[in-house]
């Protein structure tokens, strides 16, 4: 191994993340090469400095209480069943019916639901993709380029079809992050409007289809088919967006499995 190769692997060597064979090769090289071992020494020095305790910020004492309090509050808001365990509900049978009515409301008044959070996330991802000039990791109008690009990047293969003939050309794809998991984002265009289609494997328990939601002027549609959840977001007017969704649904249905 020459110095250039060694230099590129020195950090991985320092982290003990190399395989045994390369590890030995580097070890042998460092013994005989003053320049590389000096370079390695620098890394050890900096690493040593970074390990100083004062560079690790431990959570302030009251943060744990603050976090615990807000999580517990969220837990109460999330589950009506919690309230059933309170003895006054059991004791006051006549009140139970009235209480039930209140309980049914609790999920709605206890902060945003996970469904609403997801909708907000979808809109945020859409805005971010427009803002930071990061629309596509793989800019291509060819479905046979976009689909394979996702191989190895996510744990599923998103259905991709170009809708250029119908007036919604495919522009590309990228990786995004939603619902606490990596998702495929397919980008389409209609005139000057950008449409983001987020695709991820369906969670059986999740209720996915529903009416169009509008947040900050963007429209969001969500549905599931063939084990995959689709979420479409754009500033396109809703009738156009529904048309696009219809086209996408039928295109996906005819894709070879």
């Amino acid at each position: 191994m020459d110095c250039v190769n060694v230099e590129t692997l020195l950090d991985t060597y320092l982290d003990r993340e190399l395989d045994a064979v390369r590890n030995l090769e580097i070890e042998a090289h460092l013994k005989g090469c003053a320049r590389c071992s000096e370079s390695f020494g620098d890394r050890q020095i900096i690493r040593h400095g970074l390990k100083t305790e004062s560079l690790y910020f431990k959570a302030p004492a009251d943060l744990q209480k603050r976090v615990q309090r807000s999580v517990r509050q969220a837990a109460r808001a999330e589950t009506p069943s919690y309230w059933f365990s309170l003895s006054w509900v059991k004791a006051a049978a006549p009140l139970a019916a009235a209480a039930l009515g209140v309980l049914l409301l609790i999920p709605f008044i206890g902060g945003p639901s996970s469904d609403e959070l997801l909708t907000q996330d979808i809109v945020a991802s859409h805005i971010r993709s427009l803002m930071v000039n990061h629309l596509a990791d793989v800019p291509s109008t060819d479905e046979h380029t976009v689909k394979p690009w996702f191989n190895g990047k996510i744990d599923f293969s998103p259905p991709v079809s170009d809708l250029a003939k119908e007036g919604f050309p495919l522009v590309g794809g990228r990786l995004d992050y939603l619902n606490n998991r990596p998702v495929a984002a397919l980008v389409y265009q209609r005139d000057t409007h950008v449409i983001n289609v987020f695709v991820w494997p369906s969670d059986k328990s999740a209720q996915v289809s529903g009416p169009i939601k509008t947040r900050q002027g963007y429209h969001v549609m969500r549905w599931a088919s063939a084990g995959v959840t689709f979420s479409v977001v754009s500033d396109l007017e809703t009738s156009q967006l529904e048309k696009f969704a219809g086209l996408l649904k039928s295109a996906v249905a005819t894709l070879p499995r």
Binding site: T52, Y56, Q68
Partner: protein, 175 residues
Amino acid sequence: MGGQDKLGRFEQTILPHLDAAYNLARWLTRNEQDAQDMVQEAFLRAFRFFDGFRGGDARAWLLTTVRHTCYTWLEQNRRSRATTSFDEEYHGVEEEGLNPSALAIKSNDIALLKESLEELPDEFREVIVLRDLEELSYKQIAEVINAPLGTVMSRLARARGQLKRILCSRFKEKP
């Protein structure tokens, strides 16, 4: 699953990683108050999505959410922030000779080391924090930053290279 049952499991598996969450948030936001807000928000999000946690590495799972929360915040607050630019392809000019012992003195200057690390672009700073401070494996880092192992490897190498350059140039400024 009952909410109290869920809460119990959450407090047992996720809450113990509060320090890790705070440390990452503190380095990404670079100030105490925002870091605390980020941690609280991240824990709330993590709790809401806790049903999706299928066991496995709780710390990496939580840090993924912390990072995501911080990046959303960073994008909204980009105006007021200054770091050197993030250039994944930067290979650097030949390092001007600074002998190791001089570097040793400098890297013992904790305030200087902290400033230099804060000056790094977020994408570089976070891998150093996750590796050298949090001591995560490459595999865990790959999960947290949602990138392939090869990217973790090369980004760490570049991040440390740039950190060394910043240290060296500061050394020249005030020897």
